[in-house]
């Protein structure tokens, strides 16, 4: 399987075989990610981290991944203090940085920015989120978390929250459909998963159930994936409160769930998961955040040709 010098732009490019290959590589990286084992796999390599909008967790996790493998990181820093503030195009920025480094991680507010970058770069581009478009490394770390903490084959998963605008859940659904998962979609009707995505993922092999109640779905699933409902989507704050409180889980919500149920969340959370759940064996969101490191280590190792 050839990942060397490949761009990582969208989950649509990935087959199940490719995903499994990356997750296998990530598993081998875990002791290094924990700092229990030293590595100089990427010694002498430099990674540029170009974040045109803030995302602290994603940025730090890429930086950690590179540093743990003995490589170096070049950070664009604040956009306000860079040439972008002078009006430089993304294409020119990429062409310049391309000459300095061995790979580029790009976060950009415009959809399609990573695709554009890949046309102007000779080194691999890793998409760390482009607007409401794609965020493939988030999906890969979600899949890795599910595989490590639960199981991907025969999975019953519920996705709750803003399913209309949430790119995280859209990409995750596409990937889970490759594994024939049974997916329960939980959202208020205003924030339903778009119909075209539902029909796409059914066509790809997923089984779909829709509901607006967490309680109706939670007792039968292996994984509950919570997402934040964004307040700014609602013109009336009272409407937001009604919906936000309906999709909140507490210890009480979990009284009849499977003992092995895992709760995930891409973070940051607001009030959708009661903090009392953090200390239960169901809570998986902080581990999920950590798993971004071995997954990104695996991707960097693969695209830079240090591993196959």
């Amino acid at each position: 399987m050839k990942f060397k010098e490949q761009h990582i732009i969208s989950m649509r490019e990935f087959s199940r075989e490719m995903i499994d290959h990356i997750l296998d590589a990530a598993e081998k990286m875990e002791p290094i990610a924990h700092g229990k084992q030293k590595s100089d796999l990427l010694a002498g390599k430099v990674l540029a981290v170009l974040f045109f909008e803030p995302s602290t967790r994603t940025r730090m996790s890429f930086e950690t991944a590179m540093l743990r493998l003995g490589g170096d990181v070049l950070n664009l820093g604040s956009v306000d203090a860079s040439s972008i503030a002078k009006g430089e195009t993304l294409a020119d920025t990429i062409r310049v940085v391309d000459g300095y480094v061995d790979a580029i991680v790009l976060r950009h507010p415009k959809e399609g920015a990573a695709q554009l970058a890949s046309e102007f770069a000779k080194v691999p581009i890793l998409n760390a989120g482009d607007g409401a478009g794609h965020h493939p490394t988030q999906t890969l770390l979600d899949l890795y978390t599910i595989r490590r903490e639960s199981h991907l084959d025969g999975l019953k998963i519920a996705l709750a929250g803003d399913l209309k605008y949430g790119r995280t859940v859209h990409s995750l659904c596409y990937a889970l459909s490759l594994y024939g998962a049974q997916i329960t979609l939980i959202s208020p009707k205003e924030l339903r998963m778009p119909d075209e995505i539902i029909s796409d993922i059914i066509a790809r092999g997923a089984k779909i159930i829709e509901t607006d109640s967490i309680e109706d779905a939670i007792n039968d699933v292996d994984v509950l994936y919570m997402t934040r409902i964004q307040k700014e989507r609602f013109p009336d704050p009272a409407e937001y409160q009604k919906v936000a409180n309906k999709l909140k889980i507490t210890i009480e919500t979990l009284k009849d769930v499977k003992p092995e149920l895992k709760i995930m969340h891409p973070l940051p959370r607001v009030n959708e998961i009661d903090t009392k759940i953090d200390d239960t064996p169901h809570a998986c969101y902080f581990k999920q955040a950590f798993y971004g490191v071995p997954v990104r280590m695996a991707l960097l190792g693969l695209v830079l040709g240090a591993i196959e």
Binding site: T89, L90, E111
Partner: protein
């Protein structure tokens, strides 16, 4: 209709292209795609809502210009049933139906205002063309947004 009336409404051309069977009402969009009349040295004639064998249609005649394959492909996006007739010395030397291309570049703009192709970057818009279920869909190569209706309104 007398010969002189016919001549006035639909003048034969000596050399050039006749685009026939354009979806009624779409002739002006065809002109837009071809950059007409600015890019032609001859006369451009347009018939709108002409009576054809299968109902109303539009027809465009362009003197002294033979269309290139790439131009013909673009026309297919808004007039999938059009035929292209090349005229030489008043005779039709070739008659072909347009075919829908699988990829178009620099023809339409993306409907997504947040798409990188709608910013000041040195790129042209690109779309994959999907004709599944007899419905034409253009998927933006950059952001993935699909245009399935009112394609003519997005023409560049």
């Amino acid at each position: 209709m007398t010969d002189i009336e016919t001549e006035l409404r639909v003048r034969r051309i000596e050399n050039g292209t006749v685009i026939d069977h354009i979806t009624a009402g779409k002739a002006l969009n065809v002109l837009k795609i071809l950059g007409l009349p600015d890019s032609s040295h001859g006369v451009v004639s347009v018939l709108i809502n002409s009576h054809g064998e299968y109902g109303k249609k539009d027809v465009v005649k362009i003197e002294n210009r033979e269309l290139k394959v790439k131009e013909v492909d673009r026309i297919a996006l808004i007039a999938p049933n059009a035929t292209i007739n090349i005229i030489r010395n008043f005779n039709v030397t070739s008659k072909n139906k347009v075919h829908i291309p699988s990829f178009v570049e620099d023809v339409v703009e993306c409907i997504n205002p947040n798409c990188i192709s709608n910013s000041d970057e040195p790129i042209t818009s690109k779309f994959k063309v999907d004709t599944e279920n007899a419905c034409l869909k253009l998927r933006c190569f950059y952001c993935g947004r699909v245009i399935s209706e009112n394609i003519a309104e997005q023409l560049l």
